[in-house]
Every structure is written in C-alpha cells, then in structure tokens.
Amino acid sequence: MKKPRHIFSKFIRFAYSCYKPYFFTALLQAATNAGQTIYNAYMVSLLIGSLEEGVYRKALLMGLLIVLANLLFNFLNKLNLRLVETTRTKMTEAINRRVTYKLMKLPYQYLEDPYYLDLKERAKFAIENQDTVSRFLNGVAEGLQIVFTLIGLLTIILTFDVLLLVILITAIILNILILALSLNAQFMIFRDLLPINRKFGYYMNTINDEKRGKDYRFYTVGDLMREEFESYGRATVRYFKKLNKKLTVYQILRAVVKYLEMGFVFGFVAYRTITERLSARLFSLYTASALSFSASFTKLIEAGMNLGQAISYLAPFIELIELEEAQEEGDIPLDEIREIEFRNVTFTYPRSEQVILDGISFKINKGEKISIVGLNGAGKTTLVKLLCRLYRPKSGEILVNGRSIYEYDYESYLRQISAVFQDFKLFSYSLKENILNEDGDEEEAYKVACKVGLKEKIDSLPEGINSLYSKIFDEKGIELSGGEAQKVAIARALHKNASLVILDEPTSALDPIAEAEIYMHFNELVEEKTAIYISHRMSSSVFCDRIIVIDSGKISAIAPHAELMKDTEGLYYKLFMTQAQNYQE
C-alpha cells in the first residue's frame, strides 16, 4: 500500500505532464473565487459604513460600486467555468491516452498475470465509477482556493482581536477531533465502496447480459444470480446502515460545534462592539469575516476528505502507471528467418509452480511446415508466445539464424513473424484496414481476402472491403460470423508477408468445406514461408513436413506423419486414431 503523499505527488506530476494548461486555469479560478469570497465578507460592512456616515449620495454611490463589483465577479466566475470545463476534459483525455499507450507498451507477461489483470480492472473501475480524476483535481483546486481565502480573511481578523482567532481555532480543533473519531467509519466506506460497486456491476452486467439470456431460460443460473445479487444487496444496505448510525452522531456533533462557534463569535464581537462603542460597520465586517473563515475551513476539511478518498482510489492506478514499459533489447536487424532453434528451453509462467516447457530442443529450417500437437495445456501456445518474444524462457536459448532472438532489434524481429492466435482479435476498422493494418491499397487487401475464401462474403457487402467491422462506430457496421472473422485474421497474417507464419487453431470455427479449402491451399497460401501450425484437428498434421509432439512439457517425438504412425504406443498415434476412427467406414 503506497503512502498517500507518494500517490498525491506522483499523480500531480503525471497530470501536469499530460496537460499543463489545466493547472493554470485552476489557479486562476482559485484566485478569482477566493477574491469573491473575501469581497463578500467586506460587502455588507462597506454599505453599512456608508449608511452610518449618513450622506445619501455617497451611500448610493457605494451601492452602485458594490453592484458593479458583484457583476464583475460573477462574470469572471462564468468565464472560469467555461475554461475549466474544457481544460478538465482535455486533461482527462490526455491522461487516458497516455495510460492506454503505456498499457500497449507493457511487457506482455503482465497481460496474462491475474494480479495485473485485477490491478488493471481496479484502476480502471476506480477512475470511472467514482470519477476519481475529477474528484482529485477538484479537491486540489478547491484546496488551493480555500487556502487563498483563509489567508485573506485571516489578515482581516487579526486586525480585530487575537481572541477572535482563538475562538475560531478552538472550533477548528474540535472539528478535527470529531473528524478523527469518525475517520474510521469514513475510511471503511472509502475502502469498501469500490469493491462493492464492482461486484454490483458484475451482477448487473451478468444478469442483463443478453448473451447469457439463453442460459437463463433453460437453467436456474439466472435465478441463482438474482438471488445472490439480492442477498448481496441486502447485506450491503445493512452494512451501510451500521456505518450510517455512527456517522449521524458525528454529524450532529459537528453541527453543535458550528452553532456554538457562531454564538461565541457573535457574542464576543457584539460585546466588544457595544462596550467600546465601535461602529456597526466593524461589527458586520468582523462577524462576516470570522464566519466566512469558519465556513471556509469546514470546506477545506471536506475538500481534504474528498481528496483523501480520491487518493485511496488512485492507488491501483498509480501502481499501474509506475510499471516499467517493456525494454526491448537487441539492435541487429533481421531480414529473414532462415532457421529457428530451441535449445533446452524451460519455461514456467510467473507466479506458477507448474513447468510448462521442460528442456525443449528442436530445429526448424527455412520453408518447413511444422505442426505442433499435444493435449490441452501441453504448452503449444506457450511455445509460440516465446517465439514472439512475449515471454522469456526461464532457462535455455531460442535462436534464429544462429543468434539469440534477443540480439535482434525488436521491431525488425517482429516484422518477420505473422500470427493468427487462438483468441485473435479484429479491430473496429474497415475490413481492408484490418487486413492491411494501415490505410493502404484496396486491391491488395481484396486479393488476399479472396485467397482465404472471403470473395463471396465481401462481394455481398454494400461497402465491400471497406465495410466497417462491428457496429460500435456505425450502425452500418457489419458483423462477421466466427468463421468469417477467422478468415479475415488469416488474411491479415498472410498479407504481412513475414518469413514465419504461425497459425494457432485457425480453423476451429470453420465448417468442413471451408476448413478443407484452407488445408488444400495451405501450401499455396503460405508459399515458401516457414510455417508453424497448431491444431486439435489431427488431420491437419498430415500436410505438414514434420510434427512436434509435446507431452507433459517435453518433446516426445519429432518426425513426419508416416513415421509417427509407426509407433502405435505413442501419443501421436493415439490422438490421431481417436479422431480417425470417427471417419472409418
């Protein structure tokens, strides 16, 4: 748990680096508002003073001046609001953009680590659900404004009597005491509110998720979720009820202090005014200043609490932005992958004991089509991630063209790899942009799309290959079936024209004919590139040159299909025959 001071200064510096102008507008607003508050304390006393003098003309003039001053302040107020509204939005946007850019640059291993997944969710939720950034910035701006006000008012009060200040300070001390007592209860609310809201969010989103609608109509899980939601809701209300009672007591104590203070201020100033025959003007001035001072201090406490709450919510966010971006070493450019070698590679996921890859060694030569098979969780996809430099092996080496892959410049290395992952994602761009990864030549994209069997689909669309994928941006956007999306992902991978193509379960959503087309044209599609093919569909390993069989983290065999089938005790044989049996006549 980071210290609040650290979080505060870190966030201020971060926000400042994102968008400086906001701080200037906040400063301006603080100064103007402080000025207005101090002026308001003076205002009535000025009028009373001129009335006491008894000159009608002068009194009217004073009235006019006061009215104009009010106008000016209100105008400045509106101006400030206008400025702050836009700079605050710009600030929030800048912060969001900076954070998301950072997230894209994080070392990949964080992205699959449950701790960081959770951290990310907590950070994001805190910002959104409690409008934390605004709260923080408001807290700071208000705090600044109040400090200005207090200084101004203090100078007035001190010209009267130190005793007045003593009364005010006593009240402040009492308030702080009460606050300290109630802090425990307050803190519990701060601490628990976010997770409570998150869980609420989960129940609400789950119960109202139309994709689960089918589940709910056939099973009682929907009713289960509702029941658990209701009991959770009731428990939460009970929890708040308890806290509520405590807080009410504190609030009442604060009210008592407030009115006692008011009484003492009025009483003391009245006493001095009457016994020393001071003017009504002075009475008005000092009581107004004192009460304004007290009110401002209360606001300061509240702003402080708001700020404190915001800071506690920001803790996961700060932890997130303090993560180091991936430092990709290596500076040798890579022109082509001619040979891949794993030398005794061992790998365990962070925070896990289970050894996924245990002393893996193999070599792949240029142009070979390699199939990797094994049971679920055997490490097939892990191998791919290591090759893509998403994770580092715990021990052993991965070499390309005889060199460790970490010696190559990251950008040029990745340019030589193209992948369709099992859980690939497409983006809300046009199909063309999804395939080309940039706003490029339509013809090119169309050619590749036809190669993977998308011609009919694209021709049927009104916008053709320029159709926007998904309806997020545009109601006219299109949805693709699982199989069609998979074809787009394959097209994307092929178009990149990298020397290594990796396909991880690329036909799982395709029907038999479409799948067969991919298999049949596989060699055409991939041409001379080196290819790694992972699939549960044992039939796909037949058209590959060699097959790597992974069993419990170790390589149990590397050989072409025919050879592996000779070992009737082997895992490969078992897997293959299990599926083949279904197609025997």
Binding site: I48, N74, Y108, Y259, N376
Partner: protein, 599 residues
C-alpha cells in the same frame, strides 16, 4: 419520436412508490426537513439584525446575548433535525433503488427471447436501466432532488413574503431574476439535448480505443502486428473530435449564461437602491439593512438553487420515464398457454408443420414451408455450413422464437399451448458460448437447488464429464468459487474445463430432450473422445440433437439433417447419405480425407 416527459407525473409516481414499499415514514421526514431546512437560512440572517440594532441603540450586552442565544439555540435544534432527516433518507433512497433492481431483473428474465437479439431493444433497455445505475442521477437522483427542493421552496416563500412586505418592487426583481435563470437553464438544456447524440457518438468512438487498450485480450495482436502507433494516432484524433463537441457545448453554456448577469444587475440594483432609500427615509433601521441585504441574497440563492434543481429533476425524470415505460410495456411478453411440461420420463417427438420463419425486422426467410419430424428417442445430427440456419432451428425447437407461419408440435401438442417456463423445462441445452458464473463450481451446475440430493446429483454429473480429478486438487473442491470478481480467491478454469462444466449443467437438468451445440469445439482429441464415449450415458434414451461442424460426431446419431442456405438439403442415416453421394458424402470425405490417406 420521443414523447415529452411530464416531470410532475414521474415525480408523483416515484412518491407513490414510497408508500408502496412501506416506507411511509419518509413522507414525514420530507416534511420535517422542509420546515427545518427552510427556516435555517432565515434564522441565520436574523442574528446580525438584532445585534446591530442593539449596537446602534446602545443597549446593553445582556439583551444582545439573549437574542443571540435564543436564535442560535433554535437554529441548532433545527440543524440537528435536518441532519437526522438527511441520514434517514440517504439509506432508504438507496434501498428504494435496490428494490427496483430486483423487480427489474425478475422481469428481464421473462421477456420474449427475440428482444434480446434486437439491438434496438438492447439500446432501449440500456437507457431504461441507466436510471438505476447510481446514487446521484436518475431514479434515486430524483428523490434526492425533491428532498433538497422542498426546503428551498419554503425558504424562498418565506423570504418572498418578507421582502414583498418591505418593497414589492424588489421582490418582483428577484422573481423576474428567478424566471430568467429558469429560461437560461432551459435554453442550455435544450442545446445540450440537441447535441447529445453528437456527444455520445463522439464519446463512443473515442471510448472504443480506450476500452480496446485496456482490454488485455487485444495485447498479442497489437504487439505482433505493431499496431501501437496506429491505435494511438486514431485514438488521439477521436479524442480531439470529442473535445470539440465538449467545447462547443461549453461555449454555448457560457454565452447563454451571460443573460443571467443582466438579471443580476437589475436585481442587485433595485435591492440596494430601495434599501438605501428606505434607510434614509427612516423606514428601516441599520440592523434591518443588514437583514434585508442578507435576505435578498438568500432569496436569490434559493431561486437559483430551485432553478438548478428543477433542471436536474427534468433530466432525472426523463431517465425514470424511460424506465417506467419499459416496466409498463406489456408487449414484451406474449402470454402463452398454461400447459405444464410433459413428465420427464416421456421423451419428445418434434414435428414442424409448414413452418416458415424469418427474423423480426428482416426480409429473408430462413425456412419456407418447412416440414420435418424428429422421432422419439432419435439422435439427430444437424450439420451444414455457417449461416445455414442450424442455430435458428434450435431456437425454434426450444421456443425462443415463434414460427412466423405454421406450427410446431411436441408429442402432438402445439407448443403454443405450453407455458413458456414449463416448455423450457423439457430441454437440456449446451450452447456454443459457455458461460461460467461467479458462484461456486457446484452451483454453476445445480443452480438454485439446495438439497443434499441435488448436491450429490451435481457431483455425479461433474464426475461423468471427467472433471473429478481436477476438482479433487482444488482447496474447496466442489464448493470452490469461480472467477475472481466476487471472491478474490476464486479460480479460472481452461476453456475445455469450462465446456465440461456446461455439459454437466445440462446433464444435471435432465429434461425430456437434449440439445448440444458444438459442445466439443474447445476440447482436444482425447477429451472429445471421452465425451463421445459417455454420450450414451449423457443422453440415455432421450431424443437428442447434436449440432456440429465435426462430422465425426454424426456416427453416433441415428439420423443426420444437412442444411444449406436454401434449407434442408439431405436427411437420412449416415449410411443412407453416404450412399447418396451428395453434399454430406462430399463433406464427410473432405473432412476425413487426411485421416484416410493414412491407410
């Protein structure tokens, strides 16, 4: 076109709800708060009045102290009442909102399924329920608004009377000022409302990038395809578009708001003039001057506050109005029949008679004059290319969508005669998307059943799908919590394991008939074979439908129905279709080709 919201009607309905939820004491709290809260500002401006008069009249301190004590004492009492009222209402308004949620969720599960696939309905539902999403807006917000409004009206009324007695012109100026504020706020609201589509569109477009980057599932593709810079650039562009709209709205707010300043000028000018003149006319004392200035400021503040609240209330009422419209909408349910489910021992035969079907709001018929029968105890495989209508068939059989024309009969009974709930009791379905819920593993299977027998049955089902070994390794075994969102020590299982849980769920339910939709897509060869082996056990003697791309599974089925874009292409047993040497034969040979070459 959206109808106009009558804010008072919505408010009234929500107030009546208080009584319905048996929280009638809240009415008392509202009134108490109105009086106590309304009097407070008035009292606070009284103190200087008395004291200044005593100062001027050179009276003694005793009298001043007495006045102070009395007034402050009363104010303190009122403040305590306000505080207590505030605390009470805080809790109960939240509770009111929660109860709406419970009702809402209950209703949601009962609406016709077809609405769930309709994006227009989804939007409408989103909007309707957004009113319940937080403490400060919408449904709960309206209550808080009203609660704060009453004392302000009280104060304004009181002060209006006092100022009116003093000088009606000043009161008139204040009231005109108040009206001007209302008009200004309304114009601003209108403009904001006009731009709100632009704003939400701009927001959505930039938010897409925000969400995508935060979604770690996109991480691999972003890195491998080097999309960081492109996404960052596009995000920036959309972000600026959004800021532009915000700026335009802020500008309009500012320029319209300047009219308020005119009103301020008028009001202040008149107030100060008359107060000064009255003093010089000896009509009021110096203390009164202080009092009236304070009163005029307080009235202006109250009027401004009222206007602001009214604007908020309008916005909140609009949200609640959408919500109440949704609640009242009976068209979302079709009242079906009331026939009870066929007893579980009897399995089903399904018959389509002249069924035509197209999805609502589309033109293309998926089925036209379709006639088809599934015999009792038959195991039917449904295969075909994507988009051929396989899942539509399932939706029709399970009653999620009614046929556009024609009828579907189950054991000779038209399915329309059954009550929806009862009808669905008869089907155990495993869908393509596997959903796991944040509750215990066992409850994911047995749902709301609690008995010891239910637990045992659930455990047996999990054993049958091959999860026993995995579960034995878990600390809380069958009671282990799933997912991390509710319990931090919950677990996440692999895609294949989750699929097994879904199959166990179907097993547990029983049902008269089993439907499996691509249930082994995520499983490896051996796990898949395990499921096939236990197929018999899973299905027993019941009628079963198996939808799949993988023709291998069809060998376990009695009959196969092959669908194409035009409808049912081929129907028959595996042997019959192979002899036909048609589409099915084609697909089977294609898929099995690489396995055959081995021979």
């Amino acid at each position: 076109m959206k109808k106009k919201t009558n804010m008072l009607k919505v408010l009234f309905r929500q107030l009546k709800l208080i009584g319905k939820r048996r929280k009638g004491f809240l009415y008392l709290v509202l009134v108490l708060n109105m009086i106590a809260g309304g009097l407070l500002p008035f009292l606070e401006s009284l103190v200087p009045r008395f004291v200044i008069n005593y100062v001027v009249a050179e009276a003694d301190t005793q009298e001043a102290f007495r006045a102070i004590f009395f007034i402050i004492g009363t104010a303190l009492l009122l403040a305590v009442v306000v505080e207590i009222c505030d605390r009470i209402k805080f809790l109960h308004f939240i509770d009111m909102r929660m109860h709406e949620f419970y009702d809402l969720n209950g209703k949601y599960i009962k609406i016709n399924y077809e609405h769930l696939e309709d994006p227009a309905f989804r939007d409408r539902y989103q909007t309707a329920t957004s009113t319940l999403n937080n403490n400060s807006q919408g449904f709960e917000g309206l209550y808080h608004n009203f609660f704060a409004l009453l004392p302000m009206i009280f104060t304004a009324g009181l002060l209006s009377v006092i100022i009116g007695i003093f000088q009606p012109l000043v009161l008139a100026a204040c009231l005109i000022g108040g009206i001007i504020i209302v008009i200004v706020n309304r114009e601003i609201s209108k403009y904001v409302f006009k731009r709100r589509d632009d704003l939400s569109r701009a927001y959505r477009k930039k938010d897409y990038f925000y969400e995508t980057c935060y979604n770690f599932a996109y991480g691999k593709d972003i890195r491998v395809f080097r999309l960081e810079e492109k996404l960052a650039e596009d995000y920036k562009r959309r972000s600026y578009d959004y800021i532009t709209v915000v700026k335009q709205i802020a500008n309009r707010r500012f320029s319209i708001g300047l009219f308020e300043l005119l009103m301020l000028l008028l009001q202040d000018g008149l107030a100060f003039f008359f107060v000064i003149r009255a003093y010089f006319d000896q009509a009021i004392s110096l203390g009164d001057v202080s009092f009236y200035i304070a009163a005029i400021i307080a009235l202006s503040t109250a009027l401004r506050g009222i206007s602001g609240l009214l604007t908020e209330m309008n916005t909140n009422a609009r949200l609640s109005d959408d919500y109440f419209d949704y609640l009242d909408d009976q068209s979302l349910f079709t009242l079906q029949g009331d026939r009870k489910a066929i007893p579980q021992e009897e399995t089903l035969e399904i018959e389509f008679r002249n069924v035509s079907f197209k999805y609502p709001r589309t033109d293309r018929y998926i089925y036209k004059n379709f006639n088809f029968k599934i015999e009792k105890g038959e195991r039917l495989a449904i295969v075909g290319v994507n988009g051929a209508g396989k899942s539509t068939l399932i939706k029709l059989i399970t009653g999620l969508f009614p046929p556009t024309e024609g009828d579907i009969f189950v054991n000779g009974i038209n399915i329309k005669e059954f009550s929806e709930e009862e009808y669905r009791k008869m089907f155990a379905v495993v869908f393509q998307e596997v959903n796991i819920y944040a509750t215990s593993l066992l409850k994911n299977v047995i749902g709301t059943d609690r008995s010891e027998a239910a637990r045992e049955k659930g455990i047996e089902c999990l054993r049958l799908v091959g999860l026993e070994r995995k579960i034995e390794t878990l600390p809380k075994k069958y009671d282990t919590d799933m997912l991390k969102v509710i319990e931090e020590d919950g677990i996440e299982l692999s895609g294949g394991e989750n699929q097994k849980i879904a199959i166990a769920r179907a097993l547990y339910k029983g049902g008269n008939m089993v439907i499996l939709d691509e249930p082994t897509a995520a499983l490896d060869a051996l796990a898949e074979a395990e499921i096939y082996q236990n197929f018999d056990q899973l299905i027993g003697g019941r009628t079963a439908i198996y939808v799949s791309h993988r023709l291998a599974s069809t060998k376990f089925c009695d009959k196969i129905a092959l669908f194409g874009p035009e409808g049912l292409l081929e129907y028959g047993s595996h042997e019959e279709l192979m002899r036909l040497k048609g589409e099915y034969y084609n697909m089977f040979m294609t898929q099995g080709k690489y396995y055959q070459e081995e021979k």
